[in-house]
Symmetry: C2
Subunit: 199 residues, 2 copies
DNA sequence: GTCTATACGAAGATAGAC
DNA sequence: GTCTATCTTCGTATAGAC
């Protein structure tokens, strides 16, 4: 029972060598996206930056879209080590947003992939982000429910609804911040907790 | 003084014929986007659907991006005739969202363009949406300020901040709704007004 | 001014050689 | 497993017909 569930994205070479190479590619690709944004990152340019041909990338990932999703997924897993179960739902969002502020390229990638997911009726991105929103909302709702029980969050509105709002505010504010850095992402998101205070 | 400011996007033929043709193209393009989404809409496919060559489109618009922005802009102007100055900020957002629910293709286009705006350091989309977010936030803040003065909205948080949150919630929820239609867009957005109620 | 035909380079993807 | 073609489609640019 050692089926390392690291990533469900881009199943391919299940052999040791392939797995390692795959990880190498992802690590290097993350750096590429962190440097330049999601723009100008064609398969060929990514391959060039890594030092292989673009066909090689397609040997490990079925498509550019799948590679991009895998990159985002891998980058996210590297960061979310901070799993403080006691943190409030808003705090978790603020922390995530704070980390994102340092790496605009990843927020760009996120935004690009969400747009892709929305455009295509079926595809890697759609599956991934539908599931991801489910997970993030559920996790957020769980925290909110605890806070409601503890009397720290108003309980006149369903926790699931509040969770959807919180995730929406977080995503929406990051978009606005990327277009206009004058927006105080951290501060505004923090203030959202005031809206959640019990009445 | 008849300088019809209809659209600042894609300046070209200022002659009668050109203006009319331009409008024809936009009207037809809107239908195309309403039918299929923003996906599969290359310049050539759009041109084909309209019945012209793709070179013709570039005669009226400098680039594909400019055309897309113009399409979104034009479609939006056709709808926002409902300018009830007395409506609450949340009501305006709920109305807009309600209209959007009927035309997923336009929400897809919006999402695609915002992603483009975020990716590119400079470009048509970036200029347009930066300005647009400014306008929407300002208009929303104006309404919220009035509501605060009338005692219908809590005034312990700055109206500009609340406006940024409201716009973020609206955008974020539409994204979630497109990925999972089980999300009750109207209802959830409406409930946001409960968070804004005075304490 | 309006529009078409055509050409160019870059892109994602596939096939097959090594 | 990795490469070099190669195919198709894309955005864009230009030349010129009407």
């Amino acid at each position: 029972m050692d089926s390392d569930p690291e990533s469900v994205i881009g199943r391919r070479g299940s052999y040791a060598k392939g797995v390692a190479r795959r990880k190498e590619i992802l690590d290097r690709a993350i750096e590429v996206f962190a440097e330049r944004g999601a723009d100008g990152t064609s398969l060929r340019r990514i391959a060039e930056a890594i030092g292989v041909s673009h066909a090689t990338l397609l040997h490990y990932f079925d498509s550019r879209e799948q590679l991009l999703v895998a990159v985002y997924d891998h980058a996210e897993q590297l960061r979310s080590v901070t799993d403080d179960p006691g943190a409030s739902a808003v705090e978790v969002m603020v922390d995530a947003a704070t980390r994102n502020v340092g790496v605009p390229g990843m927020v760009q990638l996120y935004s690009t992939l969400v747009a892709t997911a929305i455009e295509e009726p079926a595809g890697e991105a759609k599956d991934f982000f539908t599931r991801r929103f489910d997970v993030v909302r559920a996790e957020s709702a769980r925290r909110l429910r605890e806070e409601q029980a503890a009397g720290r969050v108003r309980d006149d509105i369903d926790a699931d609804t509040l969770a959807a709002m919180l995730v929406a505010v977080s995503d929406g504010l990051q978009t606005q911040w990327l277009l206009d850095p004058a927006i105080d992402l951290r501060e505004t998101l923090s203030l959202f907790s005031a809206l959640l205070a019990p009445r």
